[in-house]
Symmetry: C2
Subunit: 208 residues, 2 copies
């Protein structure tokens, strides 16, 4: 198999037809944002391309300039939300030199993102059934970056020595669980309380 042809095909499958102009990019983002709301509300099976273009306020033909199928817009939505989450956390922790402070700021930013994107959980969770590859990519890309950050922090003496891979999974698991409390279980506890409680566990553990 021709590897670069395969790569190009995989890229095409994942990302659709990349727009060449800023206006095209804005339309593509508007379609993705509409897909987020429509698929979040109706679920993948009951959402149609017509629902998405109607929500986005574009003609159905416009959809096909950017995406080929409903499956493709869904996959791209999952990956786009992953990118958005990572960029949001990166922005929130930019310039914070201490890793423990960055953990706190990153968790806060993540939970705020979750509240601004209440359908994130349904969409990513549905990806396990609709597009398992996108589901894996969503979490594994995040975990790889998290792990690198923890290794650098350990080398800088900012955190104790430990297994960076397991820690990355565990810390992501904490964030995921707290975000789910906010938007799925709707527990109603304020983000600063959640972050303070989790940060105490992350920094100090529960040993007396």
């Amino acid at each position: 198999m021709n590897r670069s042809a395969g790569d190009a095909e995989a890229l095409q499958k994942a990302s659709g037809n990349q727009p060449k102009t800023a206006r095209g990019e804005a339309t593509r983002k508007a379609i993705l944002s509409a897909a987020e709301r429509v698929i979040g509300a109706r679920g993948y099976n009951d959402a149609s391309i017509g629902h998405i273009t109607s929500e986005a306020g574009v003609a159905q033909g416009t959809f096909y300039i950017y995406f080929n199928t409903k499956e493709q817009v869904f996959s791209e939505l999952v990956l786009e939300m992953g990118r958005l989450v990572r960029h949001t956390i990166a922005d929130a922790t930019l310039g914070i030199d201490d890793r423990l402070e960055a953990e706190k700021a990153g968790l806060t930013a993540f939970l705020e993102f979750v509240c601004a994107h209440p359908d994130l959980y349904r969409i990513v969770q549905e990806a396990l059934f609709v597009d398992p590859q996108a589901y894996r990519e969503y979490y594994q890309t995040f975990a790889a970056g998290y792990r690198s950050g923890l290794i650098a922090a350990e080398q800088a003496g900012q955190i104790s020595p430990g297994d960076a891979e397991i820690r990355a999974w565990a810390l992501m698991g904490i964030g995921r669980a707290l975000g789910e409390q906010l938007v799925v279980f709707k527990t109603g506890r304020p983000i600063p309380e959640l972050v303070a409680g989790a940060y105490d566990l992350i920094a100090n553990g529960i040993k007396p």
Copy 2:
């Protein structure tokens, strides 16, 4: 509304027709176990009652002695898996007086349960779409017990003071993330390594 009639109806909806004999209970469990494998492999939409009875080796009519619909057997499966997880952890931690040791034993037992029930994640995750009430009950029942255990441990001086509710969610999030690495992402790391890494975080935190 007649409250006890409502309760009886809710119980009936959730648990199906409770068998009165040990043999009936065994058949009911066999149907649930078959449903676990069939729905885990095919997903809820593509699984039929015929697939489940065939996998269980019982006549289709037998299914209707215990359950009324596919939705009902699914809901009961989610709740049954929740009970199994909780009982497995309770058994594994029975007689362990120290909470930190119980955390370690409980996490180990949970991860072993996950490996023995590799479809647990798909099934519980699909419940968010098929039966959100069962999804909530699965996690909230678990969280309530976890929280009580942490409060008792704090009162006994076995763990540091802290927000038991947030800690329960965070610790469940760690377990869920590590289990997912085993059966969804198939990372292949041995359970004792996962538990050792997570335990160090849970007990001591990552502050240097």
